[in-house]
């Protein structure tokens, strides 16, 4: 079964997709060619009218050369999305007989998603290494940079691990960590300097040039959804204890073994909540059990792409905030070669595509979409409108009851996207509610009127009519809470919601 394409064939595939759907997408080329001179290309999907406030998503594959399934999955996903958009077809990833129901995303929700996001896909970010796996060494992981000197066996050292070469605690070796400063290290050499390699410098450049909200680097083989950090355990109490204070390039462990890295508590909750939804969606395909946790749970690392992406807004407060993910696809099959490049990866590729679909769908916020719609391409005006309700959202994240409401919203979100895509009356009601929320957020003296309550209850009832039973139960609670709020100020309503879980 011939299943793995060369780097050139992968580029040809995305060029052909772009040629077939020229108003939905186009190819692009990263700033620098690979060490051996190969152009590194990607596909930019952005359907619908120009909007100035699209959320950006970057999906990266093939950083580690031997992990061959992931470039295939990204190209496959691109084709699935374009076919769905072209013909208004649902996307279902399912394995009959697995006992799992299959994961389905409706055509209307996909259309809204594609018309709301800038999706950038780079399936094969390490083309030299990729082709070296196909032609010389099927366990190769790094790029193909020749280094100076010779190793103990007389050979010339070659290659840098592109997922250790980024400027986040670069060149520090955490205890038990998989990082090396030795050019002769077969797999995890971090390179002579941060971003010394064109393939990883491309990621830095891309993130500087494009406002990317969600970044996922797809690896193999462990069934995990990973979020920062990789170099130390996280803590949420001391913002001053953060990576900007650490010395880099030491080729030693961190001097303080008790060091913990700060992560914003709201961000941590978002990572956990979104990660859990990804794992849940993947499980629908064929029952695969993905776990969710910080990157250090796999093994300690420094210099990785997703951690770098997330670190940028902390190191430079003017930088766009990017949520960085590693999707580790698997499982281990009992044989390492078969785990990195199985002879039949088709079912694993369904899992991978479901994980990426889940992340893409969660990168759209229906409320933001509708709240900014009246402003079209006027991105800054639209963003200003959202400041107040984003503050409410962040306040809810910090309360247990509030988190439960946000989890309910996340579970309802696919249905919400579907309905606003196909039902104009429903869309108008949601838009009216969002505009009311924006007005309430701007004026602390305003209160919820009976009309506001009636509009809100109508939306809740609409959603309940098309939701599964376990969500209907929560929506009944939502209804009961909401109908008591006439005359409440926004702050009073928020306080009630934060104290009362819908579950």
């Amino acid at each position: 079964m011939s299943v793995y394409r060369t780097a050139a064939q992968l580029s040809q595939a995305i060029a052909a997709l772009a040629g077939a759907a020229p108003t939905l997408c186009e190819t692009f080329t990263l700033a620098q060619p690979s060490v051996e001179g190969a152009a590194i290309s990607g596909l930019h999907i952005h359907a619908g009218d120009a909007r100035g406030n699209r959320n950006g998503v970057l999906l990266l594959g093939g950083v580690h050369a031997r992990e061959l399934m992931n470039p295939e999955a990204i190209v496959d996903l691109a084709a699935d999305l374009l076919i769905s958009y072209a013909h208004d077809t649902d996307i279902t990833y399912a394995v009959p007989g697995s006992g799992a129901p299959g994961a389905t995303w409706g055509a209307s929700g996909i259309r809204v998603m594609l018309e709301s996001l800038d999706i950038w896909m780079v399936p094969c970010s390490n083309p030299d290494g990729h082709d070296y796996v196909l032609t010389a060494d099927d366990m190769w992981r790094k790029n193909r940079r020749p280094e100076k000197g010779s190793c103990s066996d007389g050979t010339q050292p070659v290659g840098v691990d592109l997922n250790r070469n980024c400027a986040i605690v670069w060149g520090v070796i955490p205890p038990g960590g998989e990082v090396s400063c030795d050019p002769c290290d077969y797999q995890v050499y971090a390179g002579p300097a941060a971003f010394s390699e064109p393939e990883s410098a491309n990621i830095e450049q891309f993130l500087s040039d494009h406002p990317i909200d969600t970044f996922a680097d797809v690896h193999s083989y462990e069934q995990m959804i990973l979020y920062p950090w990789g170099h130390a355990p996280e803590q949420t109490t001391d913002p001053a204890e953060n990576f900007t204070t650490l010395q880099t390039g030491t080729c030693n462990p961190l001097p303080d073994s008790s060091y913990s890295e700060y992560i914003d508590p709201v961000d941590l909750l978002k990572f956990q909540s979104i990660g859990n939804q990804i794992a849940s969606d993947v499980a629908q395909v064929r029952g695969s059990a993905y776990t969710v946790g910080p990157s250090i749970g796999l093994y300690p690392t420094t210099g990785t792409n997703p951690e770098y992406a997330y670190s940028r807004h902390i190191a430079d407060q003017g930088a766009h905030k990017t949520y960085g993910w590693t999707i580790e696809t698997g499982p281990f099959t009992g044989d390492v070669a078969d785990s990195f490049h199985p002879s039949d990866p088709s079912q694993i590729i369904l899992d991978i595509k479901a994980a990426m679909m889940s992340l893409l769908m969660q990168s759209v916020c229906a409320i933001e979409l509708i709240g900014t719609e009246p402003f079209g391409a006027a991105a800054e005006t639209a963003e200003d409108q959202l400041v107040g309700i984003r503050a409410w959202r962040d306040a809810l994240w910090q309360r247990n009851g509030g988190q439960a409401w946000l989890d309910l919203y996340r579970q309802l979100h696919p249905t919400l996207l579907e309905r606003i895509a196909v039902d104009e009356a429903f869309r108008s009601r949601v838009a009216e509610l969002v505009q009311t929320a924006i007005a309430l957020a701007e004026d602390p003296d305003s209160t919820l009127s009976d009309d506001h309550i009636r509009s809100g209850l109508a939306v809740i009832d609409d959603l309940a009519a098309t939701s599964p039973e376990h969500l209907r139960i929560q929506l009944r609670t939502a209804r009961a809470v909401f109908q008591t709020m006439s005359g409440f100020s926004a702050q009073a309503a928020l306080a009630v919601v934060a104290e009362r879980s819908p579950t």
Binding site: A13, D185, Y186
Partner: protein, 102 residues
């Protein structure tokens, strides 16, 4: 040591897949340079050369070798040829054509 010496004599041109557990006063420095894979059954899971087996065992670890992987290219039967790659393209392009955005 005898185990390592035996492997050294038979596994040239191959990487050994193994799990490693601490035994007596292990020296973690000996683990540098191994190709570390996701953990297996709670043990360090690696690909290593026969020479590295000797070093790691000597440094106080127990090494359980359970597979040998010849160093070489991907099985050519798994590599897509140009006809198959073009067929994939033709099928998808045909599915996109005639629809919205095409």
């Amino acid at each position: 040591m005898s185990t390592a010496a035996g492997l050294s004599g038979t596994a040239a041109g191959a990487r050994l897949e193994a799990t490693i557990r601490p035994r007596i006063s292990p020296d973690p420095g000996a683990l540098r340079g191994l190709d570390v894979l996701p953990p297996l059954d709670g043990a360090l899971h690696v690909l290593m050369s026969p020479g590295q087996v000797v070093d790691v065992v000597t440094a106080g670890y127990e090494v359980r070798v359970f597979a040998a992987h010849p160093i070489g290219p991907l099985d050519p039967s798994l590599v897509m040829d140009d006809d198959a790659a073009q067929a994939w393209i033709d099928e998808r392009v045909a599915q996109i054509r005639g629809g919205r955005g095409a």
